[in-house]
């Protein structure tokens, strides 16, 4: 991985939140929360529409993160990559129909030796996602690990 890309900011990526995608995500993460899965309940709630589970951030950030994964200049070894840590800080709740724009920044790239003495590379990425009204919906801090090998 090219460690000189610390500070790189990627072009923004926009995602439009569809209600059926929220339902699909809720099913895949075993949620039966009525705000996210029951259209009648959601319509009567203070939101008036179906809203996304908090970690739906993984979905509207996905294409933004994919740009990093596929960045030839960065050159990640994808089969060796695992997710190390993740933080999401939430602002406004994401509602169906929202348009979310995400800006992605490489915060740092570090080499860290694990317990077996193998050098892993840690990629620290920050995402900032705002809705169509310019309100922050989520800050994400992503720790992506490119596993070293002892060969």
């Amino acid at each position: 991985m090219n460690r000189e890309l610390k500070g790189k900011i990627y072009p923004t990526v926009t995602y439009e939140v569809g209600r059926e995608k929220i339902f699909e995500y809720a099913r895949a993460t075993l949620s039966d929360n009525p705000y996210c899965t029951d259209p009648d309940f959601a319509a009567k709630s203070h939101y008036g529409v179906v809203v996304a589970p908090p970690t739906f951030a993984a979905v509207y950030c996905h294409n933004a993160m994919r740009v990093v994964f596929e960045d030839q200049e960065l050159g990640m070894n994808i089969p060796r990559v695992v997710h190390g840590e993740q933080t999401f800080e939430f602002g406004e709740v994401v509602k169906s129909g929202d348009v979310i724009t995400t800006t992605t920044t490489i915060r740092d790239i570090l080499v860290k030796e694990n317990k077996e003495g193998i050098e892993n590379v840690l990629l620290l990425v920050r995402t900032e996602s705002v809705n169509q009204d310019g309100e922050v919906v989520c800050f994400g801090r992503w720790t992506i690990v490119e596993r070293g090998s002892d060969e």
Binding site: E24, R27, T29, P53, E85
Partner: protein, 113 residues
């Protein structure tokens, strides 16, 4: 502690479709083996989502202010997970364990509004 949460054999495919994360380590057994893994693994963000949804229950999603997790070890199809939180009201520390008692999420922390 949550009721045991069974990870369906095909959940990584459903989550892959729902999220767009179709990295081959989540869907192709041979590829995952070649990559040095013990078979396909569930997307970490799927485990995180399941955990957050378990902590949230039927509550208003706005109650979640932040969540942090460390992916301590891989989750495999047909694992059975339990979310063990300290039950804090404003913030809660939690871990997620598999059927062997191994932590798959460690150092979990959720902050509520």
């Amino acid at each position: 502690m949550s009721e045991p949460i069974k990870i369906d054999k095909y959940l990584s495919y459903h989550y892959g479709g729902a999220s767009g994360d179709l990295n081959l380590i989540h869907i192709d057994y041979e590829f995952a083996r070649t990559a040095g893994l013990n078979g396909i693994i569930l997307q970490g963000l799927c485990t995180m989502g399941i955990t957050a949804n378990s902590l949230l229950g039927d509550g208003d999603p706005a109650t979640f202010k932040s969540i942090r997790v460390r992916f301590a070890s891989p989750v495999h199809p047909e694992d059975e997970l339990t979310v063990d939180g300290d039950g804090g009201e404003d913030q809660e520390r939690f871990v997620v364990r598999n059927q062997s008692g191994e932590e798959v999420i460690s150092k979990g922390r959720a902050v509520y509004r």
